[in-house]
Point group: C2
Chain length 138, copies 2
């Protein structure tokens, strides 16, 4: 994704387009395995050495609020970010910090079907996410 495409995305959401925002979005796409804020800062500083930690966090917050990126929960106390917009699940490696996206339309359909039949009393489901935990094999 290039700077122009990112600008349009920001513009569509009514957000101001700034070099920092473009760089941050770009870095999440580029570091495409769920970077932490720290990973993002390190990456951006190569081309943009003066960016502030506060800016990165503030921009990430804005992106999350506007649905441009996802905040991914982890077992440890660091948040990780994801630029995928498509409905997807996450594969967590129990041996490492690795997180992968898992996209599977058939699975989504099965889940939707199941919960449209079996409702949870007094609860309206907005989203269902799977955390698939396991180990990579050779």
């Amino acid at each position: 994704m290039n700077a122009g495409e990112i600008s349009s995305k920001l513009y569509e959401k009514g957000l101001k387009v700034t070099p920092q925002r473009i760089a941050i979005f770009e870095s999440i796409v580029e570091l495409n395995n769920h970077p932490t804020a720290e990973n993002i800062i390190e990456y951006i500083r190569k081309n943009h050495p003066n960016i502030s930690v506060a800016t990165v966090y503030k921009v990430l917050e804005v992106f999350v609020e506007n649905g441009l990126v996802d905040k991914v929960k982890t077992e440890s106390d660091t948040m990780r970010y994801d630029a995928i917009l498509e409905r997807h699940h996450h594969i967590y490696c129990s041996d490492s910090e690795k997180i992968e996206d898992f996209i599977d339309a058939e699975l989504n359909e099965i889940l939707d079907n199941y919960f449209s039949k079996k409702k949870i009393p007094h609860f309206q489901i907005e989203d269902i996410k799977l955390q698939i935990i396991g180990k990579y094999t050779k």
Copy 2:
């Protein structure tokens, strides 16, 4: 669950039985909606005013390692704990900090079935957890 039962649980895992460990486990069971470490400390201090923050965190860590409690990921930066041992999922309220357990054998069976047919390449699944996000209705 009384102190005797908790002692046996600890003993079975080869863990030393201490009053602090019993109190901490008891409090997670008692505060049965996924307390934070802070909730636990506050609760325990009623009967055990000198317990240290470090002790609570250390004991929780030991419990998690030994499979006696679950660490529950949240959107915010506080961990929450759960004494349920049974395989279960979590319902997250998007309006509040509430988290509820969701136990559903039929759903587990569907998931197990699906993933026994459709394997993820080079990955051995150990556990699958659903995060069901939505709102409570009246």
